[in-house]
Symmetry: C2
Subunit: 83 residues, 2 copies
């Protein structure tokens, strides 16, 4: 992954964390709802990994919002971050 490659994953992680906190969920609770590992949720939020579209969908379902809404927030965050 090149330098700009991580921009979206980092933004996605931020958007996802924001949404999780809005719902008052812990990483562990979200992990349970998504059927994903607790430590993996953490990695995604910190932008350490580049999740598949299927994983992002699981997360959106766990957060109880459409995936496109999450992606839209992420893209907005990403473009605001561009220097």
């Amino acid at each position: 992954m090149g330098a700009t490659a991580k921009v979206l994953s980092v933004a996605f992680g931020r958007a996802m964390r924001e949404e999780r906190l809005n719902k008052g969920l812990s990483q562990e609770e979200l992990a349970f709802r998504c059927n994903l590992d607790r430590t993996y949720i953490s990695s995604v939020e910190r932008g350490k990994v580049n999740p598949s579209i299927h994983i992002t969908w699981l997360i959106a379902v766990g957060l109880d919002i459409p995936l496109w809404v999450l992606i839209k927030s992420a893209e907005e965050l990403a473009s605001n971050k561009e220097k």
Copy 2:
């Protein structure tokens, strides 16, 4: 990947192909714009792979539309397909 796991990837492939054809692009041309292999583009369109969020973003950029728009179309296709 379980049975329902492929639903979104398949829908994403459809949405993406639709958009590509709307722009009058060949898989080869899109592949060039995305810096991806032609055969890989083909796999994504056919829902054979479960692309990462980074890949979907490259494709959206190549198609010159925001990723969330593409995802939104995909989710709509997916929910219409649910029997």
